[in-house]
């Protein structure tokens, strides 16, 4: 029986088979990890949104009571109504509004992960085609992204506004 020499690259390939297998394996694992990261981000975002809406809904009756108390002139000394703590209530609402900018991370991170995942899958497919495929026409290779990653931001500061 004749064993294949895996230390030598197959004809037309620059990589020995064992190196191509290892490289492809790393790329596939990285791609799977990115898919898991995507699910984690999505789950975290859903939970954050639920708590965000919960906090906002909890504050709304206080806002209404505060407005009513202020209108009635009924903010008694010692009573913990919203009217007696208007500044704290406004601060809480300002914090919630401020969180909206940061909570857009899921959309941006998701686009970044999807783009990078496509690039990795394309590399893995190409290694498979170039190293293992007998017939290039039959190998299915995911196309690499045609454009650079659309997400260039590396922090969550509010973006620019341009009116034409």
């Amino acid at each position: 029986m004749q064993l294949q020499d895996t230390s030598a690259p197959p004809p037309g390939s620059a990589l020995p088979i064992w190196a191509a297998v290892e490289l492809q394996d790393h790329l596939l694992v990285a791609g799977n990890d990115l898919d898991r990261l995507q699910r984690l981000l999505s789950d975290a975002s859903e939970a954050l949104l639920a708590h965000f809406y919960g906090a906002n809904q909890a504050l709304q009756p206080l806002l209404r009571d505060g407005a009513k108390d202020a209108g009635d002139g009924a903010a008694h000394a010692g009573s913990a109504t919203a009217a007696s703590h208007p500044q704290a209530l406004q601060q809480a609402l300002a914090h919630l509004a401020g969180a909206i900018t940061a909570m857009q991370f899921q959309d941006m991170a998701s686009q970044l992960v999807a783009h990078t995942g496509q690039r990795l899958r394309s590399c893995a497919d190409r290694i498979a085609r170039d190293t293992f495929a007998d017939d290039e026409d039959e190998a299915v290779v995911e196309a690499p992204p045609l454009r650079p990653n659309p997400v260039t931001q590396d922090e969550m500061d509010a973006g620019s506004v341009e009116l034409f």
Partner: protein, 120 residues
């Protein structure tokens, strides 16, 4: 009450935009991509369209072009809210007929201020 068509394929972005605009007193209708927005725009009138750029089926620039070809949306403000910040993309948006280009993430107060400036 002004009515805004808000378009984004990200559910979390749609929720953030809706929350911000409803709190500011606008009526908001959501669409999940350009095609969905186009179908909704064909059936109703809107005072402003706020759309993402990168979406499946139809992107924001494609939607802008189609809306601008429609008489009832010829003068409606269209804002593109996207992660894209390259000059090339902005110019493409401008050429398509967009009113403005906003880069994500948005600041709620700034978004409401910009909409107040351009809405009719």
């Amino acid at each position: 009450m002004h009515s805004i068509l808000a378009v984004d394929d990200s559910a979390s972005m749609r929720q953030m935009v809706s929350f911000t605009l409803k709190n500011a007193g606008f009526n908001v209708v959501d669409a999940v991509d350009g095609q969905d927005a186009w179908e909704k725009a064909s059936k109703a009138d809107f005072d402003l369209v706020l759309t993402d750029q990168n979406m499946p089926r139809m992107d924001g620039i494609g939607l802008t072009k189609k809306l601008r070809e429609t008489p009832k949306f010829k003068n409606t403000p269209i804002l593109i809210l996207t992660t894209e910040s390259s000059d090339q993309m902005k110019q493409a948006g401008r050429a398509a007929g967009a009113t403005g280009w906003l880069v994500k993430p948005f600041d709620p107060a700034k978004l409401v201020e910009v909409i107040g400036k351009v809405i009719r």
